[in-house]
Symmetry: C2
């Protein structure tokens, strides 16, 4: 339980940065990407990218593998499932608001129909 809570801390904290989310989004689209390819689109230096990768790695959101001098990064999205499960408890709030909005719209529509 402690580990689960700790890993939720790390997952949410890791996701709270736009560069790290952009890295994850790219890995989702492209699969395995080398560190230097990963650093290219960002206006930040390679050591900064490496620090972001360390945070993502510690949260279990990526895996790194080395072949010769090339480090390839891959997505490891499992921790996100726990984050989604945690958020799902709150889903009924916006689902209910949407239901109320639909009911209101349908009611307005019914009132506008000519009476028989």
């Amino acid at each position: 339980m402690a580990n689960y809570l700790e890993s939720l801390d790390q997952t949410f904290a890791a996701l709270g940065d736009p560069t790290r989310r952009a890295i994850l989004a790219r890995l989702e689209r492209e699969g395995g990407v080398t560190v230097s390819q990963l650093a290219q689109p960002f206006p930040i230096k390679l050591p900064t990218v490496m620090k972001h990768l360390d945070v993502l790695d510690a949260a279990g959101l990526i895996v790194r593998s080395k072949t010769g001098r090339t480090v390839t990064v891959r997505l490891s999205p499992e921790p996100m499932q726990a984050a989604m499960d945690w958020l799902r408890r709150y889903e009924h709030f916006w689902t209910h608001s949407l239901d109320r909005l639909t009911a209101y719209a349908e009611n307005q529509e019914a009132q506008r129909r000519p009476k028989p």
Copy 2:
């Protein structure tokens, strides 16, 4: 777009703390809760609880209202919807793994059945 990205930063960062998640979970169960009620189950001091409430407030996850000397805290879960939408892009990873697991189990089951 910038605001959306910034608010995702704040939402995920706010969720990356077990006390803050416990506060949100309690507000989900109980609705409006006063600050002093909220502080009771935690082995931390009121000023620390107040700091957590400031973080949650800045992320738009709670609203505070004052009646006389009593401050009541309520959940404002809308920012979580954007967080879930962001995570949903990755859902196919674990859904597909589950599909593969189901297919494997069904295949094993079929092989175990006596041949006609």
